[in-house]
């Protein structure tokens, strides 16, 4: 298999609240022979404060990173959904609109034509690495547990930057997890908004949105949730206890990054996947994964 190499833009969250996303993503990429070279001296993409303040500032922060990455000619892989969205929006704006390109050159002093591809890690793993290569690495099938795949907003919308065929009903995470022998459930809140950073500024609204998502996952029979975005993870996991208290309802739904589930299935050490950093304890679910119900038929061949 040819070596897959990418420029890696981690974004601020992956250094702190989403360290577990970074750890599990790097472990999984390593296992799959995917090479990630971190963009040196990358800067914050500005989401969402920059675009709420100045369109040019938001575009320039993204373009500054992309221009620095341009020499490598590799596709830029982004794990955070918000960073992915900002980088992709700016990349397409520069590529398609000569006046934006000109304006960005004036602001950043760098020439960048939008010739790189900005990619999200979920789509890279499913499309570039491929489900067959993933299946070959599976040591332990993750049967016996119902997983609700939750995508949030910014991987699906707006349509121009969506990594999904159908932004209203994405299937990429389901395809990936089915390959691991997991059982994704069908449920309606896959792309509802979790409130993102509004959990800090207007927590009332944000807790209601996150609560609706958890409540729907529970009602649909989920035992845990899988996500591909640091903000979604933080809102669903870190604030789950607050919501339970507010609603007088028990969810007890561990919220995994999909890469953590991949790593588990590949038999990688739990510590290398950052599982100890999850707030809602995954211990019970992990036990159920490790004693797979043999009666569950895994339809991935």
């Amino acid at each position: 298999m040819k070596k897959l190499s990418y420029t890696f833009y981690p974004g601020c969250s992956l250094d702190s609240t989403a360290r577990d996303f970074r750890e599990s993503m790097e472990a999984v990429c390593d296992a799959l022979g995917v090479e990630l070279a971190e963009l040196p001296d990358w800067i914050c993409c500005g989401a969402t404060s920059a675009h709420a303040t100045s369109e040019n500032l938001a575009l320039a922060l993204a373009v500054e990173n992309l221009a620095r990455a341009a020499d490598s000619r590799c596709d830029v892989v982004v794990p955070c959904a918000a960073c992915y969205n900002r980088l992709q929006v700016a990349n397409l704006a520069v590529r398609d609109n000569p006046s934006v390109r000109q304006e960005m050159k004036r602001i950043t002093g760098r020439r960048y034509d939008g010739d790189l591809n900005v990619r999200h890690i979920l789509e890279v793993l499913v499309h570039d690495v491929g489900l067959d290569a993933i299946r070959d690495k599976v040591k332990r099938k993750l049967g016996g547990v119902n997983v609700a795949c939750y995508y949030g907003c910014l991987l699906a919308r707006p349509r121009e930057v969506s990594i999904f065929e159908d932004p209203e009903n994405p299937r990429l995470m389901e395809e990936c997890l089915e390959t691991l022998g997991a059982q994704p459930i069908e449920w309606p809140h896959k792309t509802e908004c979790c409130g993102a950073a509004y959990s800090l500024t207007t927590p009332g609204m944000s807790l209601r949105l996150t609560g609706d998502i958890l409540s729907m996952a529970k009602e649909a029979g989920a035992d845990c949730v899988a996500v591909a975005c640091p903000l979604c993870q933080s809102n669903l996991d870190l604030r789950q206890k607050d919501i339970e208290r507010q609603r007088d309802q028990t969810f007890n739904l561990p919220v995994f990054y999909f890469t953590q589930l991949m790593g588990l299935s590949f038999g990688l050490p739990e510590r290398s996947l950052g599982l100890h950093r999850l707030v809602v304890s995954p211990t019970e679910i992990l036990k159920r994964f490790s004693t797979p119900n043999m009666a569950v038929t895994v339809s991935n061949r």
């Binding site: 709420a52 369109e55 602001i107």
Partner: protein
């Protein structure tokens, strides 16, 4: 039969916000598909279709002083579902950029404070680290205690860094912030 009323429409405001006509503001025919899927719908004074209507009609003050433009989470649901491709999130961003600092309704004032603190961290450090962000935001919004009980647990789990990793080359950041200062209305 009631008398027909003639409404005065002032298109200048829409043209100020979107001089190149990129966002299809005048294509909106109020089908309300945007507002039906909007997450802030229950909390906001104005819903997305109403914000677009205010802009179409040049009702500048109502649009600029609404809570709705600050409650918008930028989830992009409205523009993705719009049959006329009206870029409502872009219009709302332009409205936020046009509001003078002191004119934000009290109940949503934390949103621009958050944005200011966030951008100041990027300008100075190049990256945002949560602990610095949270401390500065708490001071700025004079709300010191919300979420404070989560800090020890997050530190224990390694989810907050005491010392951030920062980019080495930050010179170009100053240039970028200077060159976009005027557009940001700061």
């Amino acid at each position: 039969m009631s008398q027909m009323q003639c409404l005065e429409i002032n298109t200048r405001f829409a043209e100020e916000l979107d001089p190149e006509g990129r966002w299809n503001i005048f294509s909106c025919y109020q089908c309300k598909k945007c507002s039906s899927g909007c997450p802030m719908e229950r909390d906001s004074d104005l819903h997305p279709h109403q914000i677009i209507r205010m802009v179409q009609m040049g009702r500048k003050d109502e649009a600029l002083h609404s809570k709705g433009i600050w409650l918008c989470i930028s989830c992009q649901t409205c523009v993705s579902r719009c049959p006329m491709n009206v870029n409502t999130p872009a219009v709302i961003d332009a409205l936020r950029a046009a509001v003078a600092r002191r004119e934000t309704p009290r109940s949503v004032r934390k949103v621009p404070i958050f944005n200011r603190v966030f951008l100041e961290l990027i300008r100075r450090l190049g990256r945002v680290y949560e602990l610095g962000m949270m401390s500065a935001f708490k001071l700025g919004s004079q709300d010191l205690f919300t979420d404070i009980e989560k800090f020890p647990m997050m530190l224990r789990k390694g989810k907050l860094r005491l010392i951030p990793t920062l980019p080495g080359r930050r010179a170009n950041l100053r240039r970028i912030f200077r060159a976009t200062k005027k557009a940001s209305g700061r």
